[in-house]
């Protein structure tokens, strides 16, 4: 991991990091990765990865209408709405 990695992942994560903070972020993430690297002390070549604690199968519900559209209620949390739409800066010229 280096400064360029921090710049790249912060862009992917859509989080701004000031130039003056990059070194500190790099140091703290490297410390965490050192802790994470302890996983390599165990050989897991033959282990099946576990993605869910109970190995549940994804259930699909029946295709039925269950809740009404509450757009107005949901949009109360945002003052940047117009006629049911969310307003954002212009994307396409």
């Amino acid at each position: 991991m280096n400064k360029e990695t921090i710049i790249k992942i912060s862009d992917l994560a859509k989080i701004d990091i000031k130039d003056s903070q990059i070194d500190d972020v790099l140091i703290s993430l490297e410390k965490i990765l050192n802790l994470v690297d302890e996983m390599n002390s165990v050989d897991t070549d033959s282990v099946t990865p576990m993605s869910h604690p109970l190995n549940l199968k994804q259930e699909l519900r029946k295709d039925m209408v269950t809740a009404s559209n509450e757009r107005e209620l949901f949009q109360k949390n945002n003052k940047y709405t117009d006629n049911g739409y969310y307003k954002v800066p212009k994307i396409i010229d």
Partner: protein
């Protein structure tokens, strides 16, 4: 009134010795007078609570009694509460009014409980000390220079200081059990899937589980009965029937064999070890059989957790983009700037750190080395627990490696902070139920005893905890700040 348990209050309300309004006003007054020293509440819902209490009192007067009618409760501010601000401890949701109730909230409301307020927590449940909250640190009621643990620090501190008889919490890597241990209360994290996660703001979806804080195991059992069960709104919730934990916890299991993982005791603080050993002797005298077991990969739990949890958090928290709800930056010229500025202004340092680690672990070229490897370690840890439960009924150990630490002591050392959860994270990785209950003190600060069970064995955990509390009195000790 504030020293009574949920079980006792339930009876007093039913016998009409007190009214819900009296009880509600009493706890509101206590919060107003004591909480400025603790900061365990983010919002007080006084008007709503009084209205609900009056409604419940009129129901009781008419002879109708819901199972938990009129008992005050605090909700961790991670649970969506309809029409009530839900902040998740973050500037991002500082002004968010939830349009719906979480299933846990709905169930406890239906049972007749009165929400008195929303408790403070580490931002988006990321922390072990309640120092990452946008709304300020929560203080430990036993000594206000110390942390209460986290992330459910407010829920734990408020129960410990008798500001509320019970509260809800969530546990992703120890966020119920570790603060329960550090503040001297009971906290249970049920099996993954036992309680619906609907409306519980997601941190790491394959690890998150809701639970409760109370002062006795019996009270934990009462509340757990009411929040458990299948919910079609959470596809990972279990369809297994919910036992009546309140009745079941009173059943004494005979011939139980309890495992003690040697790895949990290796290098343990001397005083914590001494207190733990004393408790083993007490349980042995009362018929428990103990057996040393090995969970040798549990030490890698924190490492695997530090990949799985941030990876899932980086994905879950991508919804906070400033567009539909949550903090939105002003004066932005492009959509990219809107995303970046809203997220950078809205999230605190620890949340950003975890999003970055998660984004890195999931980014092209690193997936196998980190996320896949962590999921394999998770399997190894889970297999070791499964093996152990072939030989023992329950597993016992200390909840945390030490008592509470001073505010500020670990804020600049994330690794030291993450290691506070060394005994708790493995159970989340394996999806197992576990509970912390008070077992003694070190330097006048509480220590917690952790009981871990096999999947859906909450009954055995609660039974052992309840019977332990019949022969010990650690759960009756209270901090000076709580008064008489």
């Amino acid at each position: 009134m504030h020293n009574k348990t949920v079980s006792e209050l339930k009876k007093d309300l039913k016998d009409k010795k007190i009214s819900s309004l009296e009880l509600t006003n009493h706890f509101i007054d206590r919060i107003k007078s004591i909480d400025p020293q603790l900061n365990s509440f983010v919002s007080l819902t006084e008007e709503y609570a009084i209205m609900q209490a009056k409604k419940i009192d009129s129901e009781i007067a008419k002879g109708s009694f819901r199972p938990l009618a009129g008992i005050p409760l605090a909700q961790k501010d991670i649970f969506c509460t309809k029409g009530i601000r839900t902040t998740c401890g973050s500037k991002m949701l500082e002004n968010f009014i939830s349009p719906y109730d979480a299933t846990v909230v709905e169930k406890l409301n239906d049972a007749g409980m009165i929400i008195i307020g929303k408790t403070n927590m580490d931002e988006f449940a990321m922390g072990s000390s309640n120092e990452t909250s946008y709304f300020g640190d929560v203080k430990n009621p036993w000594n206000t220079d110390y942390v209460p643990g986290g992330s459910s620090g407010g829920s734990a501190a408020s129960v410990s200081a008798r500001l509320i008889p019970c509260s809800t919490g969530t546990d992703t890597g120890g966020s119920i059990r570790q603060p329960a241990s550090l503040t001297g209360v009971c906290g249970i994290k049920p099996t993954y899937g036992r309680v619906s996660r609907y409306g519980m703001i997601a941190f790491a979806s394959s690890l998150d589980q809701a639970g409760v804080f109370t002062r006795t195991a019996e009270d934990c059992a009462i509340l757990l009965t009411h929040i458990s069960g299948y919910d079609p709104k959470d596809s990972t919730s279990s369809k297994k029937d919910t036992p009546d934990y309140e009745q079941e916890c009173k059943r004494k299991f005979t011939n139980m064999t309890i495992g003690i993982p040697i790895e949990f005791l290796d290098g343990l603080d001397n005083k914590v070890r001494e207190v733990f050993d004393e408790n083993i002797k007490v349980l042995e005298k009362n018929g428990c059989k103990f057996k040393k077991i090995s969970l040798k990969s549990s030490r890698l739990g924190v490492s695997a957790y530090q990949v799985v949890a941030p990876a899932e958090c980086s994905s879950n928290l991508s919804r906070f983009d400033g567009v539909r709800f949550g903090h939105r930056a002003e004066n932005v010229k492009s959509i990219d700037e809107l995303y970046k500025k809203s997220r950078s202004e809205g999230f605190g340092q620890e949340v950003k750190r975890r999003i970055l680690i998660g984004t890195y672990a999931l980014s092209a070229g690193y997936y196998d080395a980190y996320y896949l490897k962590a999921q394999k370690i998770r399997k190894v840890i889970s297999n070791e627990f499964a093996q152990a439960f072939k030989e023992v009924d329950l597993i016992l150990g200390p909840t945390a490696p030490d008592c509470a630490f001073k505010i500020g002591e670990k804020t600049n050392d994330p690794i030291a902070m993450y290691l506070s959860d060394v005994f708790t994270v493995s159970t989340n990785l394996a999806g197992l139920p576990a509970m912390s209950l008070p077992m003694g003190f070190k330097d006048n600060l509480p220590l917690g005893l952790q009981i871990i069970g096999n999947h859906f064995d909450e009954t055995k955990i609660l039974s052992l905890a309840h019977h332990y509390q019949q022969i010990t009195d650690w759960h009756t000790k209270k901090p000076k700040i709580s008064g008489d």
